[in-house]
């Protein structure tokens, strides 16, 4: 639970609030957490900076707002599930901000325990609503619709008023589409005539979504298997241990590459899923260890004595206490998933139109364009670094020996 400024709060200082305080004391880690936030903000607000569609448009047929409509309901603007997801975040962000401010105000007047429940409910409602809208739009959308070429029209006489984002360009645009329409290229263009800067900021979406979703998949698998192995022991443990051993034996990048190489058209989603399916052994071992440790502790015995079901003991009593190391693992995992994705893109696997940093780097390498290589490489480096730094900070914050 996040720090709710309340008088009662001090008295109820929970485990996580102590961890949070420790984390804040580590300046580098705290700064990298902000940097991660900034990266997510860039990913979310990318269309505000760069889009070939104007915010508003007025001509003889009247006033329209193509950008706002296009974010969710036009495949020309969002180009895949990942873009749609971030666009939806963008649309939802003002409402989320309002909700958050409201929650902060409530926190001042409410008792901590009630506030925690309220916060949990609000969070769950938000997540559910977000997911439902996402599924409805992504499944219910018809394929691409023809779109007015606003950029070309803005130079003709019909347009009476319009406002474009600062960069009138989308990450797929090639030189032929944009010549002579008042487009500026901040960092130049690549060999296919696409704007590097725009691809770079949209690349944030690709990297972050692969990192977060792949890691979520393998944390989920690993947690469940590790919990089962650690809690039940015996044959389940033996079988899961052997399975872990089997997966540990494969060089994971080989395995990922082999599976993805077999797919005829590996999409970004496939990359996420396969990284998720291969990487679960780490968290599984961690969770198993934690469960073995916690199984014999009094509070678990008490929970069992109360007659709670195994599922309840696992998920409500042991798991919350085992989550720390898993969280650290996940943070480092995001960094390595970003690396794996960009390595795959660097090798040329996957959708060639995707604005992936690894692919930008590969383009730069093949054309000898050093600035392009540097920019893309630094983007990967910074992203990987901030996640690693945050992971280290979290690990130190969780370690009771290092408490200041």
């Amino acid at each position: 639970m996040s720090a709710a400024p309340s008088k009662n709060y001090r008295e109820y200082a929970s485990y996580w609030s102590i961890v949070w305080e420790q984390f804040q004391k580590n300046r580098t880690a705290y700064a990298s957490l902000w940097a991660i936030g900034l990266l997510f903000a860039i990913a979310t607000f990318a269309p505000v900076f760069a889009s070939k569609i104007p915010f508003y448009w007025r001509d003889e047929s009247g006033l329209s707002f193509p950008w706002f409509r296009g974010l969710l309901f036009n495949r020309n603007v969002f180009d895949g599930a990942v873009d749609l997801f971030f666009n939806q975040l963008l649309v939802a962000s003002p409402a989320a901000l309002v909700t958050w401010l409201w929650l902060r105000r409530r926190a001042r007047t409410m008792e901590v325990r009630h506030y925690a429940r309220l916060e949990r409910r609000v969070l769950l409602t938000w997540a559910a609503a977000f997911l439902i809208v996402f599924v409805v739009i992504s499944q219910g959308m018809e394929p691409r619709t023809a779109l007015l070429d606003y950029r070309a029209r803005s130079w003709r006489e019909g347009a009476e008023g319009f406002l474009f984002p600062p960069l009138r360009i989308s990450y797929e645009d090639t030189l032929h589409g944009v010549a002579g329409t008042g487009v500026r290229n901040l960092l130049g263009i690549d060999n296919a005539g696409r704007d590097i800067f725009v691809r770079l900021i949209f690349g944030t979406r690709v990297s972050l979504s692969v990192g977060v979703i792949a890691v979520s998949i393998y944390i989920a698998i690993g947690t469940v298997l590790g919990a089962v192995a650690g809690y039940f022991g015996g044959k389940a443990d033996l079988a899961i241990q052997r399975l872990v051993e089997v997966f540990l034996c494969f060089p994971s990048f080989f395995l990922i590459l082999a599976i993805i190489g077999f797919l005829p058209q590996p999409s970004l989603i496939a990359v996420m899923v396969i990284i998720g399916l291969v990487g679960w052994t780490g968290p599984a071992r961690l969770v198993r260890g934690e469960f073995l440790r916690l199984k014999g502790v009094d509070f678990v015995a008490a929970a069992r004595a109360c007659g709670f079901s195994d599922g309840r003991v696992i998920f409500r009593h042991i798991l919350p206490n085992a989550v720390g190391p898993v969280l650290v693992n996940a943070t480092f995992g995001v960094a390595s998933a970003v690396l794996v994705e960009s390595s795959l893109a660097f090798l040329g696997i996957g959708d060639p139109t995707l604005p992936s940093w690894g692919r930008i780097l590969a383009y730069g390498r093949s054309t000898g364009d050093t600035p392009m290589m540097l920019i893309a490489g630094m983007a990967i480096f910074v992203t990987v670094s901030v996640f690693n730094l945050a992971g280290e900070g979290l690990r130190d914050a969780l370690d009771p020996k290092l408490r200041k």
Binding site: F250, L255, L263, F381
Partner: protein, 595 residues
């Protein structure tokens, strides 16, 4: 200790079995068929070329056992009807024009034309008016509109329906994959298949069905049949086509598998057997007849087949035991396991046309060199750095080392490698920075140089790849070394050593380091897979023909046996590596005992 090692080795057996099964499932479940490229190769060429491509693909499937079912083989249950159904599908697709069908179709077409004229009398009447010489433009326009309103219904000539292309391809593949398991059925079909149609059938092309002439109690050449007192007509065209196809299939399906595969030498005896099989196969290939052959030559060909079948009956007689064996062992999975465990054979590389063992052995040495050198290098650099950081804990040196290694840790390998090749090799723009060769393991003309020169040359080539392969692992290793030493440095025996008046260096290097480095040994087992797998990008960028590049090309080429071989081998090595690091752990630290 011995007991522990044996126990661990025994535990490796189920793990290894699981690995093999997992790999098999992975290869067979993922979309895209092995050798799909080879099949696609036989595209739009002329008939002879596409027949050659087809035969090539069949041999390919046979060699890699891709014609067998994956897990269980129930093909001994196939009966005549199954074979007939597939042959009929193919027969319905055969070119029309032989066997007097052309004339029938001509009649049908003329009839359709006449019917079209009769149903569109109004249209044709207007057409005649339009043909009149003196017609004003307005009148013509009016007539055209009228004609359009009258409409036009074309009556299509009736043609036999063709099966969908997918169905035909499936039928061809299926009957090809069945191989010699359907030879008796094919022979029966070739002898006495008849296609009977009810005399008054509304749809003569779909109402009929195939049957055995002897079961109907008619001679194979009869033109009518009586079934339950109803007269049926024998569709002579389809009958002839199916029988013809059955013989055609026999010439392919009756062939025996060659025992020596591509790239295999074999003993003299095996070579002799192989030659015998090939010559018999070639003989069988010529025992067919054309679609327009007369009865005498057909009978002659069938007599050849009958004699051959009588000689080779042993191959085709079935018993319960044999069926069970077929069901379990004539499968891809069984073949894969027997090859692996009994023949220690990983199969043949589709790309190199050589046994996978050889291919891997050729490429392996480069990767082993890189991995071992990088492992040694990283330990040599990381351990002293870790010791330094521990001795100067929280001082400038510690933080500096930590920072630099952290940057290395987060720096993507491919980025660093690309930048290094861009600036420090012959491709650099700056002339005095062109220190290193761009790529390769050694210079191409290195064979003529002396041994020393060659070593130097290889070393020169390996500087950048080794640097790129090593720098990433330094952070983890040195951190382990640092914490390992810090754990030890506070213990009593170190204080004792200092109290004895030993110099700080002796205390650290002789007393502390020995115990403090134990944790770093455990890392040996886990770095191994990283080293094996991690070199793919390095080898890709620096064009070194190691395992990583082999894997990369194999994936692009769908060379399944090589992929399986590499994954199997590296997993076994990793298993052994983990075991070794556990044993060395016990050897180094007397406190640890596995007994």
């Amino acid at each position: 200790m011995t007991q522990y090692v044996i126990k661990r080795l025994l535990l490796m057996v189920p793990t290894f079995l699981m690995i093999t099964v997992l790999l098999f499932v992975m290869i067979n479940v993922v979309p895209g068929r092995p050798g799909g490229a080879a099949e696609a190769g036989g595209g739009s060429q002329n008939a002879q070329q596409s027949a050659n491509a087809r035969e090539g693909y069949r041999l390919f499937k046979e060699q890699y056992y891709l014609d067998k079912p994956i897990l269980l083989n129930f093909r001994f249950l196939l009966d005549r009807q199954d074979v007939e159904a597939e042959l009929e599908t193919i027969a319905r697709n055969m070119a029309i024009g032989q066997l007097g069908e052309q004339a029938a179709l001509e009649v049908g077409r003329t009839a359709a034309e006449i019917l079209t004229q009769l149903t569109n009398t109004e249209y044709y009447a207007l057409e005649a008016q339009l043909a009149a010489p003196e017609l004003t433009p307005e009148a013509e326009a009016r007539l055209r509109v009228e004609q359009q309103n009258a409409g036009f219904d074309r009556v299509d000539p009736i043609r036999p329906p063709r099966p969908a292309p997918g169905r035909i391809r499936d039928a061809e593949n299926r009957i090809e994959d069945w191989g010699d398991e359907v030879v008796p059925q094919l022979l029966e079909v070739a002898h006495d298949y008849v296609h009977v149609v009810p005399v008054d059938a509304a749809a003569p092309w779909t109402d009929g069905h195939g049957a055995s002439a002897s079961a109907l109690g008619i001679s194979p050449g009869a033109t009518t049949a009586q079934i339950d007192g109803v007269t049926w007509r024998v569709d002579s065209v389809l009958t002839a086509k199916v029988r013809y196809l059955a013989v055609q299939r026999l010439t392919v399906n009756a062939r025996r598998r060659v025992i020596l595969r591509d790239g295999e030498r074999g003993s003299a005896e095996e070579q002799a057997t192989n030659r015998e099989i090939v010559s018999e196969n070639n003989r069988l290939a010529s025992w067919s007849y054309g679609l327009d052959a007369d009865a005498a030559s057909i009978a002659e060909t069938l007599a050849l087949w009958d004699a051959w079948y009588a000689d080779n009956q042993g191959r085709f007689t079935r018993s319960a035991g044999r069926n069970a064996a077929t069901c379990l062992f004539e499968t891809r999975f069984a073949r894969y396991l027997t090859n692996l465990f009994i023949h220690q054979d990983l199969g043949i590389s589709i790309r190199y046309r050589r046994p996978v063992w050889e291919v891997i052995a050729v490429h392996w040495r480069y990767s082993i060199f890189l991995s071992v050198a990088s492992l040694l290098l990283s330990y040599f650099i990381a351990v002293p750095l870790g010791i330094l950081a521990a001795v100067r804990q929280n001082q400038l040196a510690d933080r500096g080392v930590g920072l630099v290694l952290f940057i290395f840790y987060s720096l993507p390998t491919f980025f660093a490698a690309s930048m290094l090749t861009r600036y420090l090799t012959a491709s650099s723009d700056i002339e005095w920075l062109q220190w290193f060769p761009v790529s390769g393991f050694a210079s191409l003309d290195a064979t003529e140089a002396t041994t020393w020169d060659r070593l130097l040359d290889i070393g020169w080539h390996m500087v950048l790849p080794l640097a790129c392969l090593t720098y990433g692992s330094l952070a983890v290793l040195s951190r382990y070394a640092r914490t390992g030493l810090l754990d030890v440095i506070r213990s009593d025996y170190i204080r004792t050593a200092r109290a004895k008046g030993l110099s700080e260096w002796v205390v650290i290097l002789k007393h502390a380091v020995r115990n403090g480095m134990i944790p770093i040994l455990t890392l040996l087992g886990t770095t191994l897979p990283v080293l094996i797998g991690g070199s793919i990008i390095i080898e890709y960028i620096f064009v070194i023909d190691g395992i990583g590049r082999l894997m990369w090309t194999a994936i692009n080429f769908r060379d399944y046996n090589v992929i399986m071989g590499v994954l199997l081998l590296s997993s076994v090595l990793t298993l052994l590596g983990i075991l070794l690091s556990d044993i060395s752990y016990a050897l180094v630290d007397p406190r640890i005992s596995f007994d």
